[in-house]
Amino acid sequence: MSLEYAKNDWYAVADIFCLRDGPRRTRLLETDITVTGPAEDATVTDDQGNRYPVQLKFDHVWTTLGDSPRPLFDIPEGDEEGRRRVPCGVVRVNCSPLRAVENFLDIAHFPFVHTDILGSEPHTEVSPYKVAIREESDEVWATQVKFFQPQAAKSAGDGIVTDYDYRVPAPTVAVLYKTCPPKPEAQDVIAIFVQPVSETVSDVWPWMALYDDASTFSEMAQFQHEIFVQDRSILENQRPVKLPLDPKMEIPTRADMTSVAYRRWLKKRGAFYGALRDGA
């Protein structure tokens, strides 16, 4: 646990589209809340009538339940000219929010879980890459990650070796930057914003900012949504449900350096909501 720590982060609780059909009743950190639109001027209230701070960022409505929230991170690339920003809706997953983030940081599962889309056998090898906890921003970064992909994005035809950088700016958020097939000098940005409903239930909001003129908006959203539904079949079948921070409970290999750093970083921050602590 460590609900107090978790309360002082910001969380996506709606996207700019879902409030058009009326308010969203949802749960955040085990508190029932109502998000009422329009997105540009949304309000978040609990059942006792308490009102929580709101900001609109990355096409989502963000809120926090804490009294002294840490600042919401930025994704500057998202604002670049010519990118199409695609909120992909919400996927409910019965898993720890931290397991959802860790899965997003993992490439070794591509050939097995996203077969013939993000990976395919026999191209299973994960080459060495770099991982660091950046002191100035206090974020986890994995860089120079390379992986062979048969169909890396909606706009990619044949297979290519895709370059990735991964970034964890907050315990329940992961951002990736990857080779952008139609624009080699730029990188596509894909993120997941995880809304922790509880320690074992997550609402996941995938979001993208892409250079892609060929695909329609719904094709792009659909592609990402399908990928995440494949991840859900894994995430709902991991035991224990909470992410174990005791290094003896799960055995990592070299490909898991990002996950090892992520778990260490959570521990260092005291971000234990959704985690199983040492010896617990």
Partner: protein, 204 residues
Amino acid sequence: MTTRPVGLTRDLPAGRVMHAQADGKDMVVWRATDGTIAAWDNRCPHRGMALSHGFVRGNRLACLYHGWHYDRSGRCGLIPAHPDLEPPATIHATQYGVVETGGVIWVSADEAPAPDDSDLAPLRSFIVEASEDALRDAQEATSADGAPPAPEASDRVSVLCNPIEPGRTQVTVLTAPGLPLPRLRTLSRWCEAMRRQAEAKETA
């Protein structure tokens, strides 16, 4: 822990994987291409994925998540992310005991003795949403009057229970070998009657 019946041999052909539960433990039971069977804790040592979602590759079980291979002794033999790496011997699935007698698969978490060989033949294995007690009561009630479809002495019916969780029981029914098909159909109907009665009592 005792030895528990978790399914029928004929329902687990070579190359297949199943989920089993016994004495509060989640297990994966799978059969290699060469016909040998193994039962393990249903958890991949890498990231805790349920191995019952995995697939058989020859004589190894591969985890669905990152494709790690485990041989029949439970030892990890391949990490696809690092195909040239010899996986450390410490990476090991947790093994349980498993034996097959009379067409029934039995598991145990410790080295509990295997059940006696019997000449009985398996009729069915099914899940009942009722406690073992309710099932036993229903067995008695539906057998009492001896009217069809109730079993007769010559059927030598034996009902095995594996309590899975409160109010949920896996039931394996055995009969004398070589019964004619119409008789087996009748006994199947009796199984249904027993199940209905147990479940009705459970919800009452």
